[in-house]
Symmetry: C2
Subunit: 160 residues, 2 copies
């Protein structure tokens, strides 16, 4: 029987915005219009994104000067600190994904379409623990990227 590497979701008690508000409050920071707008856009759909893509989605607001590029960067950093999103670096630029409400997972990165597929593996977690024990290393996290070509791109390449 093949194992299931797919992802479900994790139950959450607060909306991302509520959770962020909580974080901000605990830091003596304020819930501003800009921060609200950004959180809403970020959590409007589950996807990996970089700062430019996010800014692209917020283009209108930026054109109307309701929001600026630096504020987007500042807020992304806060969301990361708050644990709402997770930041990784792909070929030099920051890439983000939801952390709040999503289970821990790792990635398959397609070199052709640049997409990130997610998978979960209990064995991997176990293996990490085993290696760490051997090195007397205290694990706080891990990040695994498998690079290659996804099924779709392989098919497409086969055709072309």
């Amino acid at each position: 029987m093949p194992k299931d590497y797919s992802l479900g979701s994790v139950e959450i008690k607060l909306s991302p915005l509520e959770r962020f508000a909580q974080f901000l409050q605990s830091r003596g920071k304020r819930v501003t219009r800009q921060r609200r707008l950004i959180v809403e856009q970020v959590f409007s759909h589950h996807d990996h994104f970089d700062a430019d893509e996010l800014i692209g989605h917020l283009q209108d607001l930026i054109a109307q000067r309701k929001l600026s590029r630096p504020t987007v960067y500042r807020t992304l950093a806060e969301l990361t600190e708050a644990g709402l999103i997770r930041k990784m670096t792909l070929s030099g630029r920051g890439v983000y994904e939801h952390e709040y409400g999503y289970p821990r997972h790792d990635h398959l990165h397609c070199e052709i379409c640049n997409r990130l597929l997610e998978f979960q593996s209990a064995e991997l977690e176990h293996l990490v623990a085993e290696v760490a024990a051997e090195y007397r290393f205290h694990v706080t996290g891990h990040r695994m990227f498998v690079t290659g070509i996804c099924a779709e791109c392989r098919r497409r390449q086969g055709i072309e």
Copy 2:
């Protein structure tokens, strides 16, 4: 019996410089004094390094204008392309390690001392293959980073 995650070395028939010369030739490129100096420094000891550290070691030569910063970057790119070294990105900046003459491995990254420990795991390779098969993903490589605190730093922290 605990498993062995440590690394040996891989037998090589050519010195890094010879191998690089071969690569350069195949590309119609030249073996210059600068490229020689850089390869020699890079392979003078097994370690992880970034461009600045390497440039630091070559400081004298740079001061004497026998070598320049852009040439170091250019040569690092060529060495990577040649498969002599492997490039990774750690918090935004490029970090390199020997690939030629060293077995495939993954890393434990200490958040305190910033050191990279290497480990090898056949199980990990196997796991990657298994997950990839499930996704019909064609693997070309993988990169795994376990982050945490190394034994030395834990001891030091325990003391302080």
